[in-house]
Amino acid sequence: MTGTQLRTTVGTDTEFQPRLPLRRKVGAVFGALTVVAMAIGLLTLAALIVDVVRDGWTVLSWDFIRSFPSRRPSEAGIRSALIGTVYIMVLVAIIAFPLGVSAAVYLEEFAPKNRLTSFIELNISNLAAVPSIVYGLLGLGIFVRALTLGPSLIAGALTLILLILPIIIIAGREALRAVPPSIREAGYALGASRWQTVRMFVLPVAMPGILTGTILALSRAIGETAPLITIGALTYIAFTPKSLLDPFTVLPIQIYNWVSRPQPAFHQLAAGGIIILLAMLLTFNGLAIVLRARLQRQIRD
């Protein structure tokens, strides 16, 4: 038995051809392909930014930011859209952040391991992947019609809150999970209750991660167009909302409105709006990075 095995091994050994140069060459080609794939992504991003800046650079001015939209492209601006976006952003942030963090804390620190908890978890993962336009239909059915809020600022904000809550919860849970158990044990050893441990020991450590996740979720909300169109947000509006029940528009909707017109002059306005939108998102993400770095340093000190 061992004899035959040995002989076959020896037999194949003599026939074995490593062909190493060929295998290495194929490997190098494949490695180059992976670089090409990444380069395609990066080049598209570069092309997109260059294209938008080239098209929209000329319309950028103080008047563009200060003016209301107009039928005459030379007089049109993004005032109502920009103010609507800021209002929506503030409303979404102050409601979604506490709710999202509470849910994350519950699921990560308090929830018993049972069927209900795993159902909630599965549900949240699914909600994070539901198309945004479905949230628009939900907002239309519940907030706009059933609660008779109309296509108002608050209805738009509530719709977007439901849209980004799963994202905040998932990011929050990841941040909480990254807190080492020794920190919790330190709290319990001092006689702190579960909530006291979470509030005084765990949350401060997890806060940078939670804030970063929240800011990323908020930037998703700023860029959303489809759900707000679905709940009936206006595409042309020449005033700023005065109350929560007033109609509104946001920057992405204004951009869509301009893109969907045939005249090139409006396309330039759309590009200008996109530059402002991307600049806002970039500032936001920069803020997230700075905030995270600063908070992390504080905790280490």
Binding site: P131, L137, L138, L140
Partner: protein, 332 residues
């Protein structure tokens, strides 16, 4: 004197000591039973906090219930007026015309076509990028490139719509003269680039979760890097990779603004990616932009289309999560 008082002192100190011990035991007993007022207060507070945190988590269940309720009730009304057989078999979708047809096929085929194009772009490129990030690039370079790639996922979709309509389509028209202004091809290509980071990121996570020992074993047998990737890493992380693919399909099916802006708003049953057509999401947006009164058939159609969309994406999502869970069970 001293001899007399010593036992007496010892006696009193023992009683005091016993009393103290008894008191402490009582205190411990009451603390354990929650009898102390302070402790009771703490318990009540903990209970209140736990249940309010639970309520925050329960909002997600309410959201799903709300989605199912709103979509369900309007879809129910819709199917009372339109037969489900027509909905599934009719080849025309003309609810906004006088001669109404309610076949979902043109919208569904358009969505399928544009998603397939997007998948043809994002699956190979995303997987290659994931392999590059996880296995080929030095860690430092990968840490720089990954966040830049992920910017692609953070760009608002309306911006991609602009890019597809005003950059990609004119560019492609130079090579394909009969390409229409609105077409599925540019929309699909741009959507594929948008989804690329999702595939790359999730697949890379799956590959990084493969134990280092498997790699080392393969290298020790004399495998080259490509052979390690192809014969060890990919099979080992397959369920994670497939999960990322499925999630990507779900993203593509639900994508809205790119198809609204760049693919057109004419519902026609066509498999030609050079022509304009209307995706399911685009129809919902088109109707929402108009003034559709509550209760009309047009109003109900968007919920019926939305329900179809929700069902498709939910099945895909759950399938993807199931694969991911199985994958985690193997390696964690």
């Amino acid at each position: 004197m001293a001899m007399d008082s010593a036992p007496e002192a010892a006696y009193t100190s023992t009683t005091a000591h016993l009393a103290a011990v008894a008191e402490r035991q009582e205190r411990i007993r009451r603390t354990l039973e929650g009898g102390l007022a302070q402790d009771r207060r703490r318990r009540v507070r903990e209970g209140v906090i736990t249940s309010s945190l639970f309520l925050a988590a329960a909002i997600s269940v309410l959201t799903t219930a709300g989605i199912i309720y709103t979509l369900g009730i309007e879809t129910f009304h819709f199917f009372q007026r339109v037969s489900i057989v027509d909905f599934l078999t009719d080849t025309q979708w003309t609810p906004l015309f006088t001669e109404k047809h309610f076949g979902i096929a043109p919208l569904a085929v358009a969505t399928l076509l544009v998603s397939s194009i997007a998948m043809l772009v994002s699956l190979p490129l995303g997987l290659l990028a994931a392999i590059g990030l996880a296995e080929y690039l030095p860690l430092r370079l990968a840490r720089v490139i990954k966040p830049i790639l992920e910017i692609l996922a953070g760009v608002p979709t309306v911006v991609y719509g602009y890019f597809a309509l005003l950059f990609v389509t004119p560019l492609l028209q130079r090579f394909i003269p009969n390409l229409q202004v609105f077409n599925a091809l540019s929309a699909g290509l741009v959507m594929g680039i948008m989804i690329l980071p999702l595939v790359a990121s999730l697949s890379q996570d799956a590959m990084l979760a493969v134990p280092q020992s498997l790699r080392e074993a393969a290298y020790a047998l004399g495998a080259t890097k490509l052979e390690v990737v192809w014969r060890v890493i990919l099979p080992a992380s397959l369920s994670g990779i497939v999960a990322s693919f499925i999630l990507a399909v779900s993203r593509a099916v639900g994508e809205t603004m790119i198809v609204v802006i760049a693919m057109g708003n004419t519902p026609r049953l066509s498999f030609n990616p050079l022509e304009q057509m209307q995706a399911m999401t685009a129809y919902i947006v088109q109707v929402s932009l108009g003034d559709t009164p509550h209760g009309t058939l047009e109003y109900q159609t968007i919920f019926a289309v939305g329900a179809t969309l929700f069902l498709i994406t939910m099945v895909l999502n759950l399938l993807s999560f199931r694969l991911l869970r199985r994958f985690r069970e193997i390696y964690q």
